[in-house]
Amino acid sequence: MSALLRIALLSAWNRRLTLGLTVLAIALAVALLLGVERSRVAARTSFAQSVSGTDLILGARTSPVQLMLYSVFRIGGATHDIGWDSYEAIARHPDVAWSIPLALGDSHRGFPVVGTNAAYFEHFRYGRERKLALAQGRPFAGLFETVLGAEVARRLGYRLGDRITLSHGSGAPNLAEHDDKPFTVVGILAPTGTPVDHSLHVSLEAITAIHLDWQGGAPIPGVRIAAAHVEKFDLRPKTLTAALIGLKQRAAVFKVQRDINRYADEPLLAALPGVALDELWRVVALVEQVLLGISALVVAVGLAGLVAVILASLGERRRELAVLRSVGAGPRHILALLALEGGGVTLAGIGLGLVGLELLAWLAGPLLEARLGLTLALQGVTLAELQRLAAVAATGMAASLLPAALAYRRALGDGLTPRL
């Protein structure tokens, strides 16, 4: 057996280029197969981390998924705001422990601006009951002060004391600027891996203040209210985009939800963020299945390539195999030789794929975590992955039996008698 292995290895070394490329193809296919699944899990964990501390999201009546996406993940926009008085009434509900008001819609160089109050720094929780922490500075106290998310500060290179202006609206590059009322950076939050990192936080009063001399989405011509004078106006917000709610008793969530949904003065919606998230995943599940199907097909292509390479090599190895037969190797030795080669290449491909994937996670992990909040943890191989890898290995070995069987059937004389 060891002699056979030696022959197989030496013969493979002789054809190292083609076999090496085949190993690479299988490695890439395996990395894709596992990578798709790992990023799916990472995305789910990361999204769940962002909502885990909130019991209910309060907003205008819309789809719960929509409300969750725009209030927590700042994806898409609200069709309606809610009245401040409704918010206050809900916040006074006996079962509500805390609430964080959110006024969204403005942006700064593509990053969303969140109008909120001190409750945000006190009550917001993510992951496993983790609180927001300030890496530098303090929460906003004055009107034109802002606290930056970690990623905003990092990518735009802002430091404490910098002055920035907000844009009206979000998305498009040529937005109207609130350039008469600049904000001072007073705090920078520690990284959280949630959408908080990508947000700028200002007070609700500041949101009202920068829109004082605005009407219909643009400054009113001829009317300028200087930053120094805005304090004379009533800056209490009239509307909100949404609010995050924490309860005294988590089990009371359905009761509070029912009370909010039946609130008589304004159509409101209370969404359970974890439930809305699961609803979103159910929609996305089809796409995930397609991705998984595609990566399985890529594995099949890789293994087909393996079979093709070994089959093609049979022609070029006719002499080699015939010589082996003539020195006493039986057909089963030839069979074993070729099956060994196919299995070896498959296993090498799987191994290389795994190493490559871990290497990629190690290299690109910090970047993904910063940009997308995805944590691709360096993890051991899970049981589900092991099952998939075993399936790939079994398929690879079974497939390489095809060329082996062909060689097995070839007559002894084949390859020794020159064909004319």
Partner: protein, 176 residues
Amino acid sequence: MRMNPAFAFCLAAALALAASAAQAHGRARKTGHAAHVHGQARLMLAVAGNAVQIGLETPLDNLLGFEHAPRTAKEKQAVDALRARLDTPQTLFELDPAARCQVESVRIAGLPHARTAHDHADLEADFSFTCAQPPRALTLQLFSAFPRLQRLDVEQVTPAGQALHRLGPGQSRLEW
């Protein structure tokens, strides 16, 4: 003009009905119209420590096969049987036996009675249980008890967090 007394009575009754319907509709306008899809129901499961609360919202059709006031003796019987079934929630919701759970209270709203006059009617029921130990699993007997029920959206809030499960007949176990 002299009005036939019977006609006058009918007219008055019709006006009163219309007024009450308008009032009911006005209320619905303010609080909105909940979705009403036969075959589907919503189950809310909240577990905190030793307390379990279960809320069920379903079109009556899923439980009875009709949503109007019971007219025949058979329909009356069906309503009575449903009430009896809902009053013993431990037969519908089997919490894991190790937790030793007891029914604490049952609140049922929306069972049809002689004066119900809706096209569509929903049943809302709240059940609470107290257990000796925190339960870890729940087996539902809703699909076997109510064959017209085809889909159940379970929203659960447990120590493991919030989650949504969509169950069909044959899926009856929830774990957390």
